[in-house]
């Protein structure tokens, strides 16, 4: 087991490096000069040239690449040209926000999705099943950024300004400007209110997929003889469905976790940008716009790393729920 883990993690290193390498060269193709970021507009040509020299931007690309690899090997992620602080500090601020957003979205997506799938599969082709199928298909086919804009329109703008409802949700940031003046209880409520819309924009799309998958998988399992066996044993129907059928139906659903992580992370790039959520997605988006190469590189590495670790977790879960699978 430990050996398997080690092998998987070591095996992931070339993959993550490969991703970073591709990103490194692709980003050089884009127009724009990082040196302009560091300096105020209208600077003397000689100063710009000197800055380029200092930043190492005049070195040939392969040299820059090797240098970057070298410092990475020493654990040095570099220095953000745009934010003027170490990249590690930038990431250190952004990563927890993204993890919070993604973990919540993923958790809710699986809880709701599995719940809906079970309700559908217990009475297939009934009215509730068909209605839920249509709703799920609707959200499944929605791009999450469009959904985000609609959520803002309805639950933030219309609810607050037009319908003047008592409940509405903020459309940007992670806390209000007067956060520091609030009591701890109010602070918690404020944080939660800021999370509602971005988390919803992410989980709705994922939950729709989970529901469709759970329904299909459960319907298949319910036709298996061991579910009839469970009934023949004299077990209550609840136990038959929840213990015998659902636990087996969830085995393939667990694999969705691995599939959804990349979807989720690319989703956060849009969602964090739209909701001004200071996470990794917004960070990489801003950094690309600003030609902040060190931040782009480091963020890509982190995203690739998260996908790899997420997939590893999905595989381990798979072994946990399916006794037929053992990793050596």
């Amino acid at each position: 087991m430990t050996r398997y883990l080690l092998r998987r993690l070591l095996g992931a290193i070339p993959l993550v490096l490969g991703v970073a390498t591709v990103v490194f060269f692709v980003i050089q193709l884009a127009p724009g000069d990082p040196a302009n970021l560091v300096l105020s507009p209208g600077m003397d040509e000689a100063v710009i040239e000197q800055t380029r020299e200092n930043l190492g931007l005049n070195d040939p690309l392969p040299v820059q690449y090797v240098k970057w690899l070298g410092s990475l090997a020493q654990g040095d992620l570099g220095y953000s040209l745009n934010q003027r602080r170490p990249v590690a500090a930038v990431i250190g601020d952004a990563l927890p926000n993204t993890l919070l957003l993604s973990a919540l979205a993923l958790g809710i997506a699986f809880l709701v999705g599995i719940g809906v799938g079970v309700v559908q599969a217990v009475r297939p082709y009934s009215v509730p099943d068909s209605v839920l199928s249509v709703v799920a298909l609707f959200f499944y086919s929605m791009p999450s950024f469009w959904l985000a804009l609609m959520l803002i329109l309805v639950f933030s703008y219309l609810a607050r300004n037009v319908w003047e409802l008592p409940i509405w949700f903020p459309s940007s940031g992670i806390r209000s400007s007067d956060f520091d003046l609030m009591s701890p209880g109010e602070q918690l409520v404020d944080r939660v209110r800021h999370m509602v819309l971005p988390v919803t924009a992410l989980w709705l799309v994922l939950a729709a997929g989970v529901a469709r998958y759970t329904r299909g998988s459960l319907l298949e399992v319910v036709g298996q003889d061991y579910v009839r066996t469970a009934r023949a044993k004299g077990l209550p129907e609840r136990t038959v469905i929840l213990k015998h059928a659902l636990r087996n139906a969830l085995i393939p659903v667990v694999t969705l976790l691995g599939l959804y992580l990349p979807v989720l992370f690319s989703g956060t790039v849009f969602i964090e940008t739209i909701f001004a959520w200071p996470g990794m997605g917004k960070t990489i988006f801003d950094a690309i716009g600003a030609r902040d190469y060190p931040v782009v590189m480091a963020s890509s590495l982190i995203f690739a790393g998260m996908v790899v670790v997420g997939n590893l977790i999905a595989d381990l879960l798979y072994a946990l729920v399916d006794p037929r699978i053992r990793y050596e």
Binding site: Y226, R228, K233, R247, R324
Partner: protein
């Protein structure tokens, strides 16, 4: 109840399913079935694929809900039972499935699978008592008690079928419905399982409803036979009688299809092979009349066969058959 009263009596059993696709059509999987099973005997239910054997077996134990008819078990009307009564009844009759690979929950070890049955029915007492009972069950089906910690995928088909039988035996039932318990297994393994079933019946006085389409096996193992076609029992009687003198054209066609059997007529004269051509019709739009008329090889088949369901005629050996073109002596009727 006296020993003469059958353990199980089925009268007019009908089980339907909604036909796949749109519309309100129904599949008549079981369409008016009567039979009884006496204590300690084996009744074989035979017929080709799709004739409704499994559905009959499942309907009896209410693993699917019958639409009509009466199922009496030891004088109790099973169809009138509430869900709670039904769960308690599961102690007395159990089911063994055809496919040993799909019948065992892949996520339960042998121990938890058996322990669950014992706990639900309050059998075996405390944990230690149940453990002893699990070991005993495994030994009764010829498995080593040390396998209790394993998962189903670690066993071969034959071993899994033994586990399925152990599971069914856990509640010490009186009746076992065996749905083609050996047809998914290799021939050599089949013999072992059949021997196990025979031994269990002798030792424990079990009653079997044995669903099969291997007629050689049926001849070897059953006391009586019921031949099923398109949701109906077309002929029934003692095994020896049915095999020696099949009367219904479908039974004769079935027996003639057994390799190595010499088809004879009811007087023991050699017969050219009777064959039922084509496929079993769809049980969705049932034709009126005899269920078998569309494939019947009987030379005198006519309008009478298509107009109405044939009534049952008694066989000399106490069985019945449903054909208007054959007399109980075996001769033809015009």
């Amino acid at each position: 109840m006296s020993a003469a009263t059958p353990l199980l009596t089925v009268r007019g059993l009908v089980t339907t399913f909604p036909a796949p696709g749109r519309g309100k059509r129904t599949v008549h999987a079981v369409n008016g079935v009567d039979f009884e099973v006496r204590r300690g005997e084996t009744l074989a239910l035979v017929g080709e694929s799709g004739s409704g054997k499994s559905t009959t077996g499942r309907s009896i134990l209410r693993l699917v809900e019958p639409a009509e008819g009466q199922v009496m078990f030891d004088g109790i009307d099973l169809r009138a039972m509430s869900a709670d009564q039904l769960r308690a009844f599961r102690r007395r009759a159990q089911f063994v499935f055809q496919d040993p690979f799909s019948a065992l929950n892949p996520r339960l070890t042998v121990r938890s699978m058996l322990d669950e049955v014992l706990r639900v029915h309050g059998l075996g007492g405390d944990a230690a008592g149940r453990q002893r009972r699990i070991e005993d069950l495994l030994e009764r089906v010829g498995m080593d008690p040390s396998v209790a910690a394993r998962y189903p995928h670690e066993f071969s088909g034959g071993q899994r079928q033994r586990l399925g039988i152990a599971r069914a035996l856990a509640v010490e039932p009186e009746l076992l419905v065996l749905d083609e318990p050996v047809s998914a297994l290799d021939v050599s393994i089949q013999a072992q399982i059949v021997n196990l079933l025979t031994r269990l019946q002798q030792d424990e006085g079990l009653t079997y409803l044995f669903i099969a389409h291997d007629l050689a096996l049926v001849e070897h193992l059953s006391d009586r036979v019921a031949v099923m076609y398109l949701g109906r029992i077309v002929e029934t009687g003692p095994t020896r009688g049915i095999f020696a003198r099949p009367l219904h054209p479908y039974t004769r066609a079935l027996l003639a299809a057994v390799p190595g059997r010499r088809p004879v007529d009811s007087e023991g004269r050699d017969l050219e092979r009777v064959r039922a051509e084509g496929e079993i019709p769809s049980p969705i739009d049932l034709p009126p009349g005899c269920v078998f008329h569309s494939r019947c090889p009987h030379p005198h088949r006519d309008d009478a066969c298509t107009r109405q369901l044939p009534a049952s005629t008694a066989r000399p050996d106490g069985g019945f058959f449903d054909c208007v073109k054959v007399s109980s002596g075996g001769g033809m009727q015009g």
